[in-house]
Amino acid sequence: MQANTEHIGIEKGKPLEQLLEKIADHKGCGTSSDGGKASCGSSDGPADMAPEVWEKVKNHPCYSEEAHHHYARMHVAVAPACNIQCNYCNRKYDCANESRPGVVSEKLTPEQASKKVLAVASAIPQMTVLGIAGPGDPLANPAKTFKTFELIAKTAPDIKLCLSTNGLTLPDHVDTIKAFNVDHVTITINMVDPEVGQHIYPWIYYKNKRYTGIEAARILTERQLLGLEMLTAAGVLAKINSVMIPGINDKHLVEVNKAVKSRGAFLHNIMPLISAPEHGTVFGLNGQRGPSAQELKALQDACEGEMNMMRHCRQCRADAVGLLGEDRSAEFTTEKIDEMSEVVYDAETRKAYQQLVESERLEKVAAKEAALAEMSDDEVSDIKILIAVATKGQGRVNEHFGHATEFQIYEMSSAGSKFVGHRRVDLYCQGGFGEEETLPSVVRAINDCHAVFVAKIGGCPRDELKAAGIDPVDRFAHEFIEESAITYFKEYVAKVRSHEIVHEMRGDADIRQGAYISAA
């Protein structure tokens, strides 16, 4: 493989050293010693982020919560091999109805992948990021992974490249990652203590040998942390993914958070374990449960004082295409891509779309700030509520209750609005008729919320939501989410003050586990 500096120059026109210094200074972003919370990367946008870092993440849906409303990503499944075994992963079975990492329907050659990327990028102008996430480990397939990057950098240099790895061979590849101008790397780190790790990883394959038990976990954690340090030194943004496994590493993840923050990780994404017997994983088969919504949020909140938390992860498949939360991979199968004779890369349309997004973004931020400014001092209170929002994207309340396959969750307080997660649900409305039996599962998924914002809602679900104590709100249809949420929250607090309503805490909510059936 050639170090193709011709077509993927490193940060053209920018003195590299200067950039690295700024990123290094900024590591762990939002690390103010007064315990002030950082929102960069995970929610508000450029507020407390170095401009260079913001520039790198602002169009990356997996790194910027704000971006994921506007920009799409795609994964290409060119990396089938893996060098470790995780108890939450079983790559033997594939199912088109499943959305969980490590699952794909077909694997691609680098050439097929490159053609697919061009086809998707031309059809979906908001596609700005190409990731290689498996279904195995990209760095256990270095030739295929880097060949794919090389081909894409040649034809579509504006697409950001990123990869996700278990970190075992990461130290061997940091130089190549840097040379290919990959500026985002995700490492899945579930433990920094081999005692914990031995319950998550049955074995690893390292330097031509299979290691098991505590020794395997010790090698893995050493290599992961070394790789992270090397990425930081090289100025590559590193995000850490951790799978929260109740009873195994849930408490330990606070330690993991500290360890990765001190080594310069930019963002920490704690995800719930996806575990069901039908997945055929060790955890699925031995009945290991995943966390509840409240347990997950409590851990994310506990780590947030330390560093930025990502809460919008959809745990998507290794061949996902589209905005987070949607999957358009079925439109771009190998068969369909192969049928296309020549794919012309439509750079102009992409540029025009992205300019439109920028102006919408500014409008949205202005609307939120205006609403916040109106929140006068006498409205300060201890009340916190969660609001579920049905949205198709663009940061607006623009989805029908019955068409929503997920709800975004905002936590409202006197400090403003904060995105704290999302909940997947089964489609309530199938072909125009609300399905009675799915409503309880929707209610369970958003049971910790006080209100649900929708573009439209039928009479029947409206009554049932009310009966469950969740306020169905359709008067903010097509408005900006955060501006609307702040307005609602202000009215809510005013009603509590005037004793029109009584503020009560809500219960816990479920995190959906099973296969997700797409509406398409």
Binding site: P80, K92, P135, Y205, N208, K209, R210
Partner: protein, 74 residues
């Protein structure tokens, strides 16, 4: 004796292919096969057969009893 890959268990992940010191493994119809004429059970190369060590599905790369045990050339 050489190793063989039980086709019904092979996920086609390709992990074994680059690890084989004898370049005895190749893809066929979506799964991987070992050329018994090339397989040396990794004797003289590694402590354990590499396909066995790296395969994500246990008991998929196994000794093929249809062939005599590999003997290293004197």
């Amino acid at each position: 004796m050489a190793y063989k890959i039980i086709a019904s268990q092979c996920t086609g992940c390709s992990a074994c292919e680059p690890e084989c010191p004898n370049v005895a493994i190749r893809e066929k119809n979506g799964v991987f096969i070992i050329d018994p004429k090339k397989c040396t059970e990794c004797l003289g190369h590694f402590d354990e057969p590499q396909c066995v060590a790296v395969c994500p599905v246990d008991l998929t790369c196994v000794i093929d009893n249809a062939f005599p045990r590999y003997v290293a050339p004197a």
